[in-house]
Symmetry: D3
Subunit: 308 residues, 6 copies
């Protein structure tokens, strides 16, 4: 069972301007083979399909709990994509009707890399990669064999780190860069966690692979505040009461990776504070939330009052 | 942000025997066009992409909150699939090594309808439909236009109800039937909720379409206990503190549909009690969780103790 | 622009019994690479994209007109599929409500080869192949180069003939066999027509390839009545007034292929008489056309009277 | 059975210049989830799979007849796409051979959004969306349940209207704008028709949803001539003699929607006059219809004479 | 550049009988995510895209050379699939014509799991998995980062080993079992080789993961002759003169894994002896190689004589 | 069984500059319907599935041998793609670490047509077409019927020639143009060979179709040196000892096509000399072969010395 909290895992700065091609680049981290839909999908189905859950509780808990975090990553990247497509929230930008639409007001949208993002999605995020290809079951490995699945996950997080780095290198807008910065730190935690899980079972010090690719997070300005907070040493249970048993893997005297700020690893019950979700002010001329949304706003306002 | 609780939304009875073709039928409700991955994917991305969230809070809250419930539906169907593939949990079924595998111990698996469910998935659930086709972005509508999206959702829930009914009609095992019974009740709630949302905006009494298909839930024995509890009148916020504003739509004197047990609609803060998650005892000869899992169990047991 | 006539191109005998696996085999001729959706899709888009239509009128007319015939082939196979899934029309089979559905009335549907055909399609035809894979743009060649496109089409018809023969060899039911018999004759006509078109341009006597595969239609009992009628010598314009110019290719003294009954080729204005469309009596317990369709029948009956 | 007439349903103005990205935008209305291939595919297969056709004749006739109209819509958008890729027909543009092709004469084609449209399609239309993704069976709902199918269709037409509006907003060329203008009027008719069909069965005044999105057609200049003609009040049977029974639904005193020019709805036997099909003059250097087409033109000219 | 030798890498015993569902299971090892098309595709494109080939020659050579071996694996599984579909070669089984095909001679083919394997493929192998889904680019990782790519490859070989084991467990026929036995030995060599390559770069003793899954090859009877020959200690260059530099990784005192027969690892120039390719006697009634192939055989015989 | 030689079939000139959109155009010849993955896939699986190999040896040998050549074509185009993405090899371009990556060093990569080529592939080739769509099984025809398969192959080579011509027309860079020039000559050989094979069986002079499209290779400057060498008259066995029997088809007094330089056709045992493979110097800031590859180069250098 899952619960939802109306915040993002990290605070995203507003975009400076609409940049659909930057949004399209960020889609690689949402719907690409090594994107967040893939990390989510793999861990979610692996946790559903996990065998002998009780006997393997620390391992089960690890996969189950990271699944919940990944949901927030999908949310974070999606918000980043929509924000970059939409541009900065404009106060009352959604006021009035959409006006005269007969003068090709969105002519520039036919030249953006993924035109369907506007034509079908109205600038919203969708589970596709940076070339517009859909995420799908091909990207999921859930064999039921614990070692094969964990090894897959470790490789997945290393690959994901590479993809995040490359997307980051294409972006100038603060929104997208912050998404990358945050995910680089958290993805590194997951790679580290799966490495420790594999080490417990096999004895192989696979964590010595990290960081892969071989660049320190200290080189990414957008990662620093998260490192300063010690985010790289923390796994949240993302649960009111469950999944604490992963502390058998993440904790117990295990410490941060050599290239990161030092300290012990710790499991934190619950979730991080997170940041606010942006409004995504609508654009009536694009029919979001509607061509003439004023009446709908009034209705919503009345319903809101009744709900209190 | 999302949290996770280590329970299912409903208690599933153990399967009587392994029945991979029943599991394959249930896959239609997981990865089919009208399955739970689709309801999840639509509402999740619509909630991420929702415009003017504050001004449209009751509508936003409704979609955002149902998203969280759908995650639990995906989990429920997935558990049902894995249970039907696996058969009843056997105490210590995963003990010892996998023994001599040279005598084609899984010969019958080459004749099941979706052989990859065993060969690749080891009997786990995957986001594919009953013919083995992957779920994908084609099944998502997230236009950013509130009316179009809600209308899509209403149609989606009606279609989903039909698919649940047909899957139900093919199943004899209690596990799969319970999955259907529970989802029929909850899916009807969602159809009703989207109908009310659309009625608030347009005035059209679209709830009078329900039930579609035109069969009462009273005819499905597996639905009765949920109706008796009043599940059909309840929407959970599936959140510690958020999404209460959907009470402006679901509540305010609105009542149950005529064919269901009467009473007022109510928003419940938090989540239902739910039921336990089955163990899915491993099958070492199928390499789940491993060919010789004893050592792994011991390691896990030690880690578990350290975690407390 | 297209018109529709409420008849099939050929009269199909009623199926003897429901046989979903036979229907699934027939799907190869609907949504497979060499199926009718492919012949339709290729010729339709080629005709839309045809360059210099006026200067190449006989060639354009040929492709444009065969497109219209292929629509009827898609219809014919689809009807065959639905009939084989449904079984013989039962008088008043759709009367009353669907009754008690709690006893797994469709348990056998979970073991049919393509279970989604029942669960999603209710036994209807869909553009997928015999393995349930969707037809798609990969199967279309529309290069705008006349020789390449015609050569593709010639190869397509030869391949389609092979596929029809193999599907035919798996079927015992008269409905599916008749579909194959009719399509074998008509497909042979199209192969012959494209061969003649290519010969006009290049001088190569490519019609001497035929029949490919090298079996005479005289060996297929279900083809005989169509051969006796001379169907193999006829191309219909499938138009009230257009496309007669294809007579420059199909006609002009050209004669039947050596292995078929002799005679001159001729263009016939209009369309064949065709046969009736079966009712596909609904199955209320499968929610077709509805669980309790009586009221809908009454409404329809009143509307019907008003329409006259 | 289907017939074909060598005209478009509407007269399209010649494009002012080749604009492959505008053609790519228009592809969303051809092969996108809410494009014409989808409306065609849904209604076509629903009409093939329709149960109890006789008892539900007005409903069957409606779906069957609109299928025929949608074929013409697929044709219209396809022509628009090919025209925008090709640019205006040039008299004798296809004369002579393709000349020296060694100087990269199509260098600009490697930077158009969907380069395969040129490289593979030679500028022709293909059933793909604006991102180049193929149309496929995922977009088809044909459950055999009349209410579910009609509800799907109503939602489909509303979604399609939104997509047409957005594509329109990106286009400056008259060809593409005319395609949108015409389809907006006709799509609104179909939404209205399905609304009426659903109202007859359920009593729900679902037509009060319209227009969705909430913008009047009066705001789209390209729609006006069709509204002036009363096109929004007309459904054609698109058949020599069949499908008149849909007058039980569309007609019988039903009137135009409040925001459109007033008047009674009427069923018109047959088809609209329509407009001419453009030549799509070939480009020999692009091998359409051939590198050196003169001889082919001569052959065609002789064959044409023989055909008369 | 590639060369071909008309032998299989291993001698396959003739199948005892046609078993299309066994062939379908084997397809998982051909076109599945962890099948031979995937190992081939990954290493082939990685070798093409390899950066700084000269400076990284031992690593480049390893990937480039294993690519060539994988081609032979694709060939081996494909031959296994076709043999299992076809049954044992029958002397002169392809003599005469296909006879009377009107009696549904292949009725049983409509009930095999992947009917298209017969209807379209005539019993041949195709790059699809055991559920009939196509292999595609989703299964390829070629990032250009050496560590990420090698780690992917190591995980891929471990996953492939699990899939081979499961397919093996479903097969009783000697042909399919031999395919699995051979590939298990060779796949283990590749896992070992990638582990060594990674160890050279990172120092991590990742080879201590092996065997994954944790079952010794000594438990698979069909592996024994290959272990006895020392196949598990050998990498072939599969080249007349190139790729010897991989001896820097596979060799240099490295020895067999602890659970396998002991000995030093060695690079062998060239290729193994291999075994004969089966005839796959045609079935004229299934139109392979033709309905009446005698004339074709005569022609071929004459051409053969001329070629000497 | 296959062998590999560390050379390309033809010498490619270095690119003048990185041109990702040119690389994307070239992808059409790699992963498009008529690209080299398709010719490879078709002939490879046809050769595996070939029936009655001994009795049809000249035909079998032809298909089997051309398969080996196609592997080299896939390699050639892939190298071309990677070279065009990468730009000219820079001596020591891969030296040092990747430096400061925080300044969006690859901002321009978010605007290239297929951004995933950089983000996921790091500029490497992948089996996708020019729109980024994956190659897949839809593009394979392997029916087991010799005439149908050969006819398919003939059509495939003609279509491939058209696609090569169009891609050529978009390219200014010498690398891509050379790829096209070479493949045009070799593809013409294959079309000619399949035409002769078909003529032997059917007597139809299908070679008179050639060249299709109807432009002589003499008009393509990049083809001239290959024509001068007589490449158009040669088929290599691409084997140390096998496949010579194809001389029964290609040879025996058959001569070059009328539009090409005259002379007898001949089978050459072995393979052409070929040209060197470019280094593809890495770009550390793009993490190829690594962010800081120096240590890896040192390790490789030591391993290289040990291997000798």
């Amino acid at each position: 069972m899952f619960m939802r909290i109306d915040k993002l895992q990290a605070e995203l700065p507003a975009p400076k301007r609409a940049d659909p091609n930057a949004a399209a680049a960020l889609q690689e981290l949402l719907g690409g083979k090594y994107g967040e839909m893939s990390t989510l999908g793999n861990y979610m189905f692996q946790s559903f399909n996990f065998r002998s859950k009780e006997k393997l509780k620390p391992f089960y808990s690890l996969v189950a709990s990271i699944t919940a975090e990944e949901l927030g990553h999908v949310e974070l990247v999606s918000n980043g994509v929509a924000m970059l497509n939409n541009g900065p929230d404009k106060k009352d930008g959604d006021k009035g009707d959409g006006g005269d639409i007969s003068g090709a007001p969105f002519e520039d949208m036919k030249d953006i890399r993924l035109a369907a993002a506007f034509l079908a999605g109205g600038g919203g995020a969708m589970p596709v990669n940076s070339n517009g290809q859909s995420w799908n079951n091909d990207f999921i490995t859930t064999t039921g064999n614990v070692v094969v699945d964990l090894l897959h996950n470790f490789h997945l997080e290393c690959g994901a780190r590479l993809h995040k780095l490359r997307v980051y290198e294409t972006l100038t807008d603060p929104t997208g860069r912050e998404v990358c910065g945050y995910l680089l730190v958290r993805g590194s935690v997951h790679a580290h966690a799966y490495a420790l899980a594999l080490e417990k079972i096999t004895g192989v010090k696979i964590k010595d692979f990290l960081p892969t690719p071989n660049i320190d997070l200290s080189k990414i300005p957008e990662c620093q505040k998260y490192l300063d907070e010690g985010s790289h040493r923390r796994l949240y249970t993302f649960s009111p009461n469950d999944y604490k048993e992963m502390a058998g893997i993440w904790g117990n005297g295990e410490v941060a990776l050599p290239n990161d700020p030092p300290g012990e690893l710790q499991v934190v019950e619950g979730h991080p504070d997170g940041g606010k979700i942006h409004q995504l002010t609508g654009v009536p001329s694009a029919f979001t939330p509607d061509y003439a949304p004023e009446e709908m706003f009034e209705i919503a306002s009345k319903l809101y009052k009744k709900s209190r």
